[in-house]
């Protein structure tokens, strides 16, 4: 639907209730010596509520930039982001962001890192504590409440970051290569865990990843971006049945999807 609308160059006033996020013709260039560095070019897509979208693309193609624009942390040079019917021009409360590195505050314990978003909203007391404890349990870190980040492994730190992004019940969760720094085994475990969390929290997810199989395993839809400037070269629905697990990686269907994505990336390089 959004394609038609953006061709006619109008956006719906009252968005379809199931469409939580619309990105239309997003371009971004950074000023530099010779006329500006174009990082994103005409990126458009829309996202249904509770959809899981994965974005894959080569390093430096503007994935982080795109996520920051969706989060309202950066303003696009051209185009608009509509979130829950409103144009995004600054950060929104209903969005949770997980950064490429865990990005924890080293002077706060696990539980204080996780409750930070609520603390900033002026909430405190037993309700915050219960919520924090529940989330710590959800991400499997019980008994690490009082631990400082320096004593956490990479995977544990990333789980804290995910819990922190979930605590204010966001409608949209943006994840920037959340498992990028982890070893393959931990990565698989974390992906499975994220799937479980997504099922439990009923949240819409946009996740950037380098791993094609991770994307297929998790996503309802995959966007492939070209090398810089990033353009959408493939918008692929993944209709594998849920619940999914790692054993599916050996099925024919999975392999077909993987080779289509690989081809889309290779064609551009």
């Amino acid at each position: 639907m959004y394609k038609l609308l953006s061709q006619m160059n109008i956006y719906p006033k009252m968005t379809d209730i199931s469409e939580i996020l619309i990105a239309s013709d997003i371009s971004k260039s950074f000023p530099n010596g010779n006329g500006g560095l174009s990082v994103l070019e005409d990126v458009s897509f829309s996202l249904d509520s509770q959809e899981f979208l994965c974005i894959v693309g080569p390093s430096g193609c503007g994935k982080t930039t795109l996520l920051k624009i969706l989060a309202g942390l950066m303003i696009p040079s051209e185009g608009d982001v509509i979130f829950e019917g409103e144009r995004v021009i600054r950060p929104r409360r209903r969005i949770g962001f997980v950064f490429q590195e865990a990005n924890l505050m080293p002077w706060r314990t696990v539980e204080d890192n996780i409750s930070l978003p609520l603390e900033l909203q002026g909430q405190n007391g037993s309700e915050v504590h219960t919520k924090t404890t529940d989330l710590i349990e959800l991400v499997g870190l019980s008994s690490f409440e009082k631990t400082y980040p320096r004593d956490l492994s990479g995977g544990m730190a990333q789980r804290v970051a995910i819990a922190r992004a979930l605590i204010h019940d966001p409608d949209l969760l943006l994840l920037d290569e959340p498992f990028g720094a982890l070893d393959a085994l931990t990565r698989e475990r974390m992906a499975t865990e994220l799937m479980r969390i997504w099922g439990a929290q009923k949240v819409t997810v946009v996740m950037v990843t380098h791993s094609i199989s991770e994307a297929i395993l998790l996503a309802d839809r995959i966007l492939v971006l070209s090398p810089r400037p990033g353009k959408v070269t493939l918008d692929l629905p993944i209709s594998l049945t849920r619940p999914r697990d790692l054993s599916m990686a050996h099925t024919k269907e999975f392999g077909k999807l993987a080779s289509r994505i690989r081809a889309a990336i290779a064609n551009e390089e």
């Binding site: 942390l73 950060p91 990005n103 002077w107 900033l120 400082y148």
Partner: protein, 273 residues
Amino acid sequence: MSTARKNLSSFAATLFGSRSRVIYLISVPFTLFAIFLLWEGITRYTAVPEFILPSPGSVWNRFISSIEDGSLPKHTITTFTEVLGGLVLGIFVAANLGYVLAKSETAERVLAPYIVASQSIPVVAIAPLLIIWFGSGQISKILISALIVFFPVLVNTIVAVRSVPEDLRDLMRSLRATSIQIFTKLELPAAMPVLLGGLKIGATLSVIGAVVGEFVAADEGLGFLINLSRGMYDTAMVFVTVFTLVAMALSLYTIVALVELKVLAWRKDPSES
């Protein structure tokens, strides 16, 4: 390791860096003892006169008598208030200005040349000026002390605020933190390690600043007392005063180090556990 010993050694680590803490625990009492023995030996077995090098015993006696006649406490309190005043003033101005400079590149570009240039003027050289302008009372000493504290705290504040990770700023922005929240919950704690580093340097420098001021012109304070005793060939009293100054600088340093130990518990040394 028992908790008490662990605390002590991590305290020593904060004071002198982690590697050297074992060496420190053994060597400090040992070398101190050796120095005293040597000192005692020289005064006992050579013909060095008392007014050149008084014996440890006579320094101790002078210490007791200067406490009894009230002169040492009086001058110590004078210098200590100047030091505290200089420290508080210097830190306050430097930290605030440093914050502004760190946040605004324009402000830094305009002011940086003057700040750097001001550092090439030795404080000893401006001390007489300040005394001409503000009199020979405590105010001029507080200003001299503040001046000498100012630069290291300023530089450390700028470095500290600039070193706050950009991603954490983005995190705070994405959570719609107010600028006050960004200051209290991000910038201040993130800057704390570097800031406390600046305070440690400032704490010892503030003592130097006050004494320099007192050397130039004063009728009270430990700097004045050194001058006075020297003039009367009361070398034992000079020693007593110098030791008092060392104790003062060390105590201030230790207070900052203790605060650091408490505030930076999250940064505890990995080699410890």
